[in-house]
């Protein structure tokens, strides 16, 4: 499969919808994180650093899925995997040690504040990268 075909397949069909949802999370997480870090960092440093980290992961995943080249798909795979681990670890941690998280992050309580989209999104991302990796029969 040529590079151009691969890129087109990555951002077409369900992929386009997936990238749109990623983009919404990238915009939401980055702007929220900018406000948190800029105006009240000392209130909940751990939560706000995690928010910023999540924002970077979403921006990377969105951009790399949209580009769809072989190299950017590898970065997207890494970003989406980190996202899955992040939402599981932070989700568990926020339930076990709620006092460490005085303010919520996107990944707190497995993304319950965002209708659990944050925990479903990386699974869909992994599935989509896998589906588009193979030439259709």
């Amino acid at each position: 499969m040529s590079e151009a075909t691969l890129a087109r397949r990555t951002r077409s069909g369900p992929g386009r919808l997936l990238i749109a949802v990623y983009a919404v999370f990238a915009i939401a997480a980055s702007s929220r994180s900018a406000v948190q870090l800029g105006t009240r960092f000392e209130e909940a440093p751990l939560a706000y650093v995690l928010s910023a980290f999540a924002a970077v992961v979403y921006v990377l995943a969105t951009a790399c899925l949209a580009m769809g080249s072989r190299a950017s798909r590898r970065v997207a795979l890494a970003a989406v995997s980190v996202e899955l681990v992040g939402v599981l670890v932070v989700g568990t941690a926020s339930l076990v040690a709620p006092r460490a998280f005085p303010d919520a992050t996107v990944w707190s309580d497995f993304g319950a504040g965002y209708l659990f989209v944050p925990v479903v999104l990386p699974l869909l991302g992994l599935w989509w990268l896998r589906t588009t990796a193979h030439t259709p029969a």
């Binding site: 069909g13 386009r16 990238i19 919404v24 915009i27 406000v35």
Partner: protein, 126 residues
Amino acid sequence: MIDGLATTLTFVALGAALWGVVLVVVGRPLLIDRWHGLGLLGVVALLELGLLAQAVVGVVELIGTDREVDTFSFLGYLVGPVLILPLAAFWSLAERTRWGPGVLVIGCLTVPVLIVRLRQVWEAHV
């Protein structure tokens, strides 16, 4: 905050989202030369105008108010939907399958969510 405008925008956004869902279900792409595509884009354009008006009124009210509002969050929730909707429209027009209107559904659904948050930020006396 003009509650009437915010409520109207919420309903228009949900209506446009529903229209988009119908296109996804019947498997039509977003086509500008068909009544169902042009109509949906028309509603989205009106929604965008309404969101711009809300942003202008919101900024004026923010300057005029003497209550303590979380300024940056408030501005973010005012400007966010104004930017997201046209991006969604462009991203959706580039797709020639049923997933095109699906993108517009996502864009439209963010509008009511951001309006709810906008109201919360306005009403919370931080």
